[in-house]
């Protein structure tokens, strides 16, 4: 396995979709290649840190109340009922 192929397999590795054989080859390569080891660590850490980016703020309570009321009215009108 070369460094280029190794780097292309990191995504599959993180998705747990690599075969045992390829995982073994990947690990074998990384044991001897410090560049790929560092690449893998920083690549997987980038994914981990992305998960820690905070969620955007919520829609306001007022917006949610207005939306729910609007949808319920529409549902009633679709079914010929009074809101």
């Amino acid at each position: 396995m070369n460094c280029m192929l190794c780097s292309k397999l990191f995504q599959e590795y993180l998705d747990n979709t690599l075969s045992e054989e390829l995982i073994h080859e990947l690990n074998l390569h990384m044991e001897h290649c410090s560049r790929c080891r560092v690449f893998f660590r920083t690549y997987s850490l980038t994914v981990t840190l992305s998960r820690k980016v905070e969620q955007p703020c919520c829609p306001s309570e007022e917006t949610m109340e207005r939306l729910t009321a609007l949808l319920c009215d529409k549902l009633c009108s679709l079914h010929g009922k009074r809101p």
């Binding site: 660590r41 980016v53 955007p56 549902l75 679709l78 079914h79």
Partner: protein
Amino acid sequence: MSKENKDLSDEILVGRIKKGDRDALEEIVKRYSQKIYNLALHVTRDAAAAEEIMQEVFLTILSKIHALTHDAYFSTWLYRVAMNAAYGYLRKERKYTEQTVSEDLENETAAEYDWSSLSDDILVSEESKDILRTSIDSLPDTMRMVVILKDVEGFKNEEISQALDLSVPAVKSRLHRGRLILRRALGDYFRRYSYSGAEE
């Protein structure tokens, strides 16, 4: 709202909405409004637009719900409608750009600097989160959406493929390239951080 609705599957709730069940509709709105809002906000970076899109998405869903033949696929359909609405907004506002990334990322096989050994305090500092957030926001649109859906929101490749109308290989390719860009941005930041710390 009926307490039992919380435990019902989307499929059952959608079936009930089709029959005019208001409680089922409220539960679906409660279950998905935050996610739709987040997606819209990530795409548009505008809170007012995100609220407008969220409303448009639920109104579209409600008016077309009778055409949904497989109720179990509701969430996939919902996200697809949300993506279309968000992209529609960008096109309308002429903010949509599908620029290509010219950097030769595929040849980037390793970082020279191993920032993975930095302490958690530095790695997850507010400043590093800001760098990451800004870098995600700067990605080309579809790449940004793939990264957000996968790495921030935790969707599966197949779900992203359906929501964005891309093949799974196209999703994987954009994801990988997006991660490489973010990794490079973080590497540059942490390298600067470490050097500035060493000079003090």
